[in-house]
């Protein structure tokens, strides 16, 4: 749609004195030099044909690109990171202002008689299921209300297996994996990764826990297992061998899952497990688009964009959920903290690195949320 808009605006912004392609078409068919009257007669149909032709070419190109992507997927070729000029150009655009303007447009009330038509058109364009909407279409006063609509009771059954973690959103899995090794990196796409500390914040509890565990393990292992520090008799007398209590504990790995929400998806965020939310961080960053093309071309997409990170503990240890905004869907609202405001107008050209942080009930249990419970929602603009 970006290409389409660009091409259309280029076409429409041609100077009046510059003959459009339709003029040549009209002149040829109507006879060259036929005077202003005969030229004008074919001007509108000519422009229409040219526009239709342009749209046809763009559509064909899009189909060709989609086919190429599908072929690559079938062959098992992963998309690779490849920055381009368009991605660099994006950084110059006033994306936040555009996002806020888009949000204001979407909040405009739609006449009741038009609502079903508009929402059905939206659903057709973005593949939404209107059968799931909790209310009749006439009840949603604006596209914004329709966009964050609730679903009918029972539309999203929550897996009751206590040993499972459920999806917090409707969407497409972009990346899953385990975080290992120094740097603790998450793949954005093949060929480019970002660190988990950049995403969650440098003062995240995840690192504190890990460092403490590693230190405890080192301290305990140092008692009996320092190579060359003990002779054979010392080892034989040290019986029974001191057991490292850390080794008795089940070890835990750190995993990640990245889920992309298309504009037509249900945009409320639910809790993936029973957990205690201990703190919230709000990073007021940029608002780059989040589509698949952006993921492949914009460096540090997830750690530069505006996001809200909820961090806490569940029965297996640390857990954090980062909701990342985009140009069209830039606002994140928390049900556990309704007063938080995101996508605010900002005078700063370079977003601050320091996030706004809040601890929920310091020293206490934080906010207790159950598996499947609503915690946040994405809003347009």
């Amino acid at each position: 749609s970006g290409d389409l808009l660009r091409e259309t605006s280029l076409f429409l912004s041609r100077p009046l004195h510059s003959p459009p392609p339709s003029f040549h078409f009209a002149s040829t068919s109507g006879g060259a030099g036929g005077g202003a009257g005969s030229g004008n007669k074919f001007l509108v149909p000519g422009a229409t044909v040219a526009t239709m032709l342009m749209l046809g070419i763009l559509h064909a190109r899009r189909l060709y690109d989609d086919k190429k992507v599908e072929d690559r997927k079938e062959k098992g070729i992963e998309p690779e990171f490849s920055p381009d000029v368009k991605a660099s150009f994006m950084k110059l655009l006033p994306l936040r202002s555009m996002s806020r303007f888009w949000g204001h447009l979407m909040e405009m009330q739609i006449p009741v008689f038009l609502r079903p038509t508009v929402y059905k058109a939206w659903a057709r364009a973005f593949h939404s299921d209107l059968e799931e909407a909790a209310l009749p279409l006439e009840n949603y006063a604006s596209l914004q209300e329709f966009f964050v609509r609730k679903l009918k009771e029972g539309s999203r059954p929550i897996d009751t297996d206590p040993n499972c973690l459920v999806s917090p959103v409707d969407g497409k899995i972009l990346q899953i994996g385990e975080i290992r090794g120094p740097g603790a990196l998450i793949d954005q796409v093949k060929g480019f990764s970002y660190s988990v500390s950049s995403l969650l914040g440098t003062n995240s509890n995840l690192h504190i826990n890990d460092l403490e565990e590693e230190k405890s393990e080192e301290d305990l292992s140092g008692v009996v297992d320092v190579p060359g520090a003990k002779s054979w008799w010392c080892v034989s007398l040290a019986s029974p061998k001191r057991q490292n209590p850390m080794s008795m504990r089940p070890k835990r790995g750190i995993f990640y899952c990245v889920i992309y929400l298309k504009p037509g998806d249900y945009h409320r965020v639910h809790s993936p497990v029973d957990w205690n939310i201990l703190r919230r961080r709000h990073f007021s960053g940029r608002l780059f688009p989040q589509n698949e093309r952006a993921v492949q071309t914009i460096r540090n997409l997830y750690i530069e964009n505006e996001r809200v990170v909820l961090e806490g503990e569940w029965k297996e240890g640390f857990i954090a959920l980062a909701a990342i905004g985009a140009t069209n869907i830039g606002s994140i609202r928390l049900f556990i903290e309704p007063e938080i405001q995101t996508n605010k107008p900002t005078a700063k050209l370079v977003p601050s690195e320091r996030p706004d942080e809040r601890m929920y009930e310091p020293g206490g249990t934080g906010v207790v949320v159950k598996k499947g419970e609503e915690v946040a929602a994405f809003y347009m603009g």
Partner: protein, 45 residues
């Protein structure tokens, strides 16, 4: 918009010098998921 989930989950002890994961994702890259569907499970020993 995007949601990133980072979490700790059980991993079993070392075998042949490698930590064998007890937790397993039940989805793959490119899969479509809905709220409430399991994305990973683990087995308690």
């Amino acid at each position: 918009s995007t949601v990133v989930l980072v979490f700790q989950a059980p991993v079993s002890e070392m075998r042949n010098g490698q930590a064998i994961s007890n937790f397993e994702f039940s989805v793959r890259n490119g899969d479509k998921v809905k709220v409430g569907e399991a994305i990973g499970r683990w087995h308690k020993s």
